[in-house]
Symmetry: C2
Subunit: 405 residues, 2 copies
């Protein structure tokens, strides 16, 4: 358990970070982590689903959850005077949910609706295509939510077993921030700790394995939209890779806002797209760097050409001293402004403790301050020399030639 | 100018709230407010577009803007030590932009891309349909962004004239919050005040007029999506209508989260949709209450039937004492938690001053506390007795019968 007491806030933030995500699912369990996250809201012996939500919402708080590829998070934010509610309700959900068969069935149809919603979202579809090509054959290659087939076939008892074997005290970080008292919280969570410590680890070995080699090329999902959604990706550093600070600088210079190279070249100078961003994702043993935009079909190749020339320039010449200084100032200011939100402390601490990342914010800021032009240049040369994986979603004309340069 | 000094924050938030929005546009000017917002970022005599963004982003700040139907807002957030940059750059943009012809043309193509992006977003399309039926023939009935035709035809000089006649000191509220000194800010903004005070008001009379009677019925935009996006609306109270506190309670009971009636009936008990929300929008002299969800086509009528029965029940019996108390607690807690963000003070003060709404947060909380079951019951009966305007976007089968109950 990690808590960070912050002065001058009336809010209490509590998160349970569980080391369970879609990556560790077998084929038969595909989507089980997410389904489990859903059904844990459906009621316990003491509380109905409505009472769970109402107890937090009646005092203006939020209670929610998300499932990612390597973890699941349940979190609440409310006024500190109401903190006992959050502790009580969330402990109850995590240890004593009933997951009644009729609730399981009802939630299965909800998840099928959520899959349909994702299929209508061009960004979601493009990111799923990208993951499939970058992370195969590991579990990172699959969507968190599961597939229509895996969800339709999923049984209540399978998910209950999954919960009982995976949600164990050893694999959960509790993170709190704001108006919080560490010792009181520890005491209040003792019953949950006891309940989850009694659980046995799963018998089967960890599944999922490491990603193999990324597959470059152009991968298309045809949809009847007006715009093409485009995600252009390369494999990148993993979570604890020491090059991530240099990557942070590189991504900021390329796509960290309206003064970044890609925005200036694609939108500001040429008006080719509404926006264009660069970003990175990192997992335990893999990662990616992506450039993303939406555009009219006729602008696909012109934008790829501009992106390619921006990248070629960085690969050949690196970044300027001015860009380096600007990116460092940008990262420093964003970090300090981000920490103004008490919830950000809860969520940062929870994630980094679960990932066994021992670095403080000050450590990371020192790492960023130490990045050199040479670091960034070397990283750019390594990342962007190979051909990218291009995911395109939208009104695609068969046999459209696309040159990745 | 309104400023709110907040202790314990390192951030400075600055917003310019201009009383210019799409509502006041003639047909020929449709989309001019939004286009103007875009081109004011394209450079001044002293700063290029890239320099405008870079000056704020280089210290980790944000500089952005949005255009609404009744106002336009430019805002920045950065560390207090960097506040002079924001004041200087934003003053320069608002008074001394060049709007060069080639920049105007380039930005026109960007706005056309933005229109295409909105056409691919089922929620945007459904809200545009709703506005067209609720607010005709006033300017509120039209999308803020303009149409493909109006943007293609728009000339640079028209937009420059629009800017010169509409962006006047009398029509702008400057709002700041966080680590701010009111007198220093006033002094720093004096040159901008002078520049904009010299401008002449427009000669033509205000355009747009008041909305007439809303048009109920089913209005469809067919799209090749998996889900239908549905927005069900009724005319509602305007901005300063005294019934808005009762409306706040009513909307909270119906659709303010996972313990709200609609969520419990549609998702929790029946698994018919991933989520369903109730919300309200208010303008100077008009407003709307809407219920919104996305679902498989086969679930359209079943969900309408559930919604109708929830509403019929509220119209017949009002809400319970417990619901009233819960909604008040929810609104109180959300308000207090919302005020924890320094930026929220800037944005609330800016909007309410521009709207001549003299009420403080404490006033509004007192109004909410005074709401009775009778107030809510009377309002529900008034709002939901008539037939709604139903906007549906997605895979529509011609001649699908839809009964609005």
């Amino acid at each position: 358990m990690v808590s960070e007491r912050l002065a001058h806030t009336a809010a209490f933030n509590l998160g349970f970070f569980v080391g369970v995500g879609s990556r560790g699912e077998t084929d038969a369990l595909h989507g089980a982590s997410h389904m489990l996250e859903h059904v844990l809201f459906k009621g316990t012996e003491r509380l109905s689903a409505e009472q769970i939500s109402a107890s937090i919402e009646a005092v203006g708080g939020d209670l929610n959850a998300y499932t990612a590829k390597e973890h699941t998070c349940f979190y609440a934010r409310l006024l500190a005077e109401d903190s006992p509610r959050a502790i009580e309700v969330m402990s109850d959900m995590l240890a004593h949910s009933l997951i009644r068969p009729q609730h399981f069935r009802s939630e299965r149809t909800v998840v099928l609706e959520e899959i349909a919603m994702g299929n209508d979202d061009p960004g979601d579809v493009a990111h799923d295509i990208t993951a499939r090509r970058l992370y195969g054959p590991s579990g990172l290659a699959r969507p968190v939510i599961g597939s229509v087939d895996s969800i339709r076939a999923m049984e209540r008892d399978t998910v209950v077993d999954y919960w009982r074997s995976r949600y164990r005290a050893d694999d959960i970080v509790v993170s709190a921030s704001g108006a919080v008292d560490h010792d009181q919280l520890l005491e209040a969570l003792a019953p949950l700790d006891q309940a989850l410590s009694a659980r046995r680890p799963p018998l089967e070995a960890a599944v999922g394995g490491a990603p193999a080699v990324a597959e470059p090329g152009v991968f298309v999902a045809t949809r009847d939209f007006e715009q093409l959604e485009v995600v252009m990706s390369w494999p990148g550093p993993a979570l604890l890779d020491p090059r991530r600070s240099a990557l942070d600088v590189l991504v900021t210079v390329l796509g960290g806002g309206m003064s970044a190279r890609l925005f200036v070249e694609v939108r500001e100078s040429r008006g080719l797209a509404y926006t264009i961003d660069a970003s990175e994702i990192a997992y335990t043993d893999a990662g990616q760097v992506s450039i993303e935009w939406a555009c009219a079909p006729s602008r696909l190749q012109p934008i790829i050409d501009v992106v390619r020339s921006v990248l070629d320039d960085v690969v050949a010449h690196g970044i300027t001293e001015e860009e380096l200084a600007r990116a460092k100032g940008q990262i420093r200011g964003q970090t300090l402004l981000g920490l103004e939100s008490p919830a950000s402390h809860m969520s940062r601490n929870g994630r980094t403790w679960l990932q066994d990342d021992p670095r403080s914010v000050a450590d990371i800021m020192a790492e960023v301050a130490a990045v050199t032009r040479e670091d960034v240049h070397a990283l750019a040369a390594e990342l962007f020399t190979g051909r990218p994986t291009l995911a395109v979603v939208g009104p695609w004309q068969e046999h459209t030639p696309v040159s990745l340069g």
